[in-house]
Symmetry: C2
DNA sequence: TGGATATAGATGTATATACATCTATATTTG
DNA sequence: CAAATATAGATGTATATACATCTATATCCA
């Protein structure tokens, strides 16, 4: 669906403003797609993201701050996401030995299993639902970097 | 900042997966930028979006369903966003005359004033913070439509 | 015309987002 | 070394998101 149909509007201030709204809409579209698939595994989008980050370093452990710095949405409240993963026994918390302020997070076997299953499903859905050549994806990545270039 | 730095990761399954994460990250970046500016006007991102939609039809009135269909994030709970706008006297609710099930929303003078001021500020910030030529913005829009083409 | 069904929106619940504050441990520096 | 400052993470609060359910009004149609 074109953005114009999706938000029933054709009055954009500029092509750049339209691109901004288009990015916001597409992000919502991706999230909706993913959330629907993750529901089967009783995982939220953010819980999945945390498990994926932990897996990236496994069997190394990570502290909360390390996880937070790798989150896509930097304003996520990582301790609370971890609370829920701990309740489901997907991770285990221990106080840091070197630095007592840190909380060290360990993926459990159950956590690895769930992540494995969820990843397979989610990757399949992305492959199935997103149609873009590698070349076009690469151009898109460059344009998004360009969009954010004045970031501070 | 490049996506790789932003999420401290270089292991992407594919250029398409990277584009997906890049869209999610850029959407978060845009939202953060906007939220910061809107705070001065005591408006949230979604409250601003609803006011903007109402302004688009003004002085015509809109019902809740009409507003919802124009929201960027379709899963927004419009009645509750309207609750908060009503408390601040930015809008007024009345029961529909033709269809009694509908709630009809009217922008107040105060609502129009706030929106006007917030829009000027927000447009300025977007112009200032986003650097992309019209040509590149147009290409970006085409690629985002392509990305979502299998939408149902 | 009156009971079944559909629609509009309000309301409830769990989790996330955005951000402030608090507590415990580490580090700095006077 | 002790007091001041910094850092890690937990916790609190308002609002949003995602979705289910409930209520009131409208429409359908036998």
């Amino acid at each position: 669906m074109k953005l114009e149909e999706a938000i029933k509007s054709t009055n954009f201030k500029s092509e750049v403003q339209k691109a901004g709204l288009n990015i916001l809409y597409t992000a919502w579209w991706i999230k909706t797609l993913s959330i629907k698939e993750l529901k089967v595994f009783d995982l939220t989008h953010e819980q999945y993201n945390v498990l994926r980050i932990l897996k990236g370093k496994y069997p190394e452990l990570m502290c909360v701050k390390d996880i937070a710095s790798r989150m896509i949405e930097k304003s996520s409240n990582v301790p609370r996401i971890i609370d829920r993963l701990e309740t489901k026994n997907f991770i285990k918390r221990t106080q840091g030995e070197i630095d007592g302020r840190q909380t060290v997070i360990k993926l459990t076997t159950l956590g690895i299993e769930i992540l494995e299953k969820a990843s397979i499903k989610l990757n399949a859905i992305w492959d199935e639902s997103i149609s873009l050549s590698t070349q076009n994806a690469s151009t898109l990545n460059n344009l998004l970097e360009q969009f954010r270039i004045k970031e501070d």
